[in-house]
Amino acid sequence: MLRDAWLIASKDLRVEWSSKVLTGQVLPFGVLVLILFGFGISPDRRVVEAPERAVLEQVAPGLFWMAVLLSALLALGRSFAIESVDGNLDALKLTGLDPAGIFLGKGLAVWLELVALEVVLGAGAFLLYGAPLGHPGLLAVTVAATTTSVAAAGTLYAALASGLRVRDTLVPLLVLPVLAPVLLGATLATEAALFGPAGDGWPWAGFLGAFALLYLGAGILSFGPLLEET
């Protein structure tokens, strides 16, 4: 299973590396979203109750994760778009690879792509919104757990919509309500990691970890029947 996963993941990453869609289109899109949030929430705005920080800085964690989610939708669509060309998904099934391995492989590729994206967008959010970093350890755990959640749930739902003409419009509708609790947990944990106290963030990091494990399990179990007849 793990060997199959690694095969699929390295294949996907090689395709991404040579096509440059991720670095050339998805990444700039994410940065663009960050800048547009700055337009939507005026950078000079401050609230009376907390005048020491600009509103933009206070809500930076939520905006960062929103930008990640929106970019992730593109990355997920891309992950299955490369399979549905010329019936590649059929070919994938015929190779006799373990379905759970295919799920983990696609998820791992998406995970690595998202981490790369988050590093760039995180740096962008730091530069644009100017938030401090109080607890790097909590932030690292939060990022890892959130990315696993997004990659696992996203891969499962993108597979549900794969091979359809309406895929591009269906995936966001299916994935975003499911990832709503992830956005909630990630934002609150990141807020705690930036502004403290870290004790507020750890329960949410745990929640994100549980969510990630749940969806990893769901994906491993359901990819078999899902690929069987598609």
Binding site: L173, L184, L214
Partner: protein, 256 residues
Amino acid sequence: MTQVETANATRGATSSKATRMLGVLSAVGVAALLLFGLILSPPDVAQADSVRLFYIHVPSAIVGLYLAFGVTCLGSIIHLRNGSVFWDLLAGAAAEIGVVFAGFTLVTGMLWGRPTWGVYWQWDPRLTSTSLSFLLFLGYLAVRRLDLDPAVRSKRAAILGIIGFLNLIIVRQSVQWWRSLHQGSTLNPVDAQIDGLMLFSFFLGLIALTSVFFWLLLHRFRVAWMEHQIEAASVTTALAARRSEAADYDGLAGNT
């Protein structure tokens, strides 16, 4: 078939003894709910007449979110286990009616919130998780409408139906946790001292809406069943046409 005969054959197309009985029960239940909910029950001490919205709001939340989506989840599990068409169609029918009831929950919840909280939308755990589940099951219904091979479509929908129901619980818990961290325990809408007639109206609402749910579920399931028959028949016709084409071709080949 003449027009009259067609009319006879289709009248009460999805009716049966069961639906007629449930239909009468539903009509009586809704009429009684209107009577008690709007006229006979007294206004609440704290909430005045807005409490009347609760006789719809809470029952439709219970029926829509837990009963209907629960049926969807159960049907999806059974369908994945043994490929049952019956349970697949029932899961789809329940989800559609569940979405309608979840919509009722949202509308009455917001109309209740305005006089009580002063705003239509409070980030209340129940309201927030209901809205997300509503959207999630809209996605489920979108999957069911896809132009796909029926077996593939049912399988994908079933996976979505199971996760959708589990997700309802996750969302509910996470939002509850979120709000309780920020603003203490949420305001409890039903106070301990509750008038007997008010409690009666609430249970009346629960019974009436449950009956309406099962009545609609039977009809909706039968509509789905007929759609399934038509879909299957069209595949058979297409196959037969293809076969006769092939036979014609063989005949031609034999002549030359």
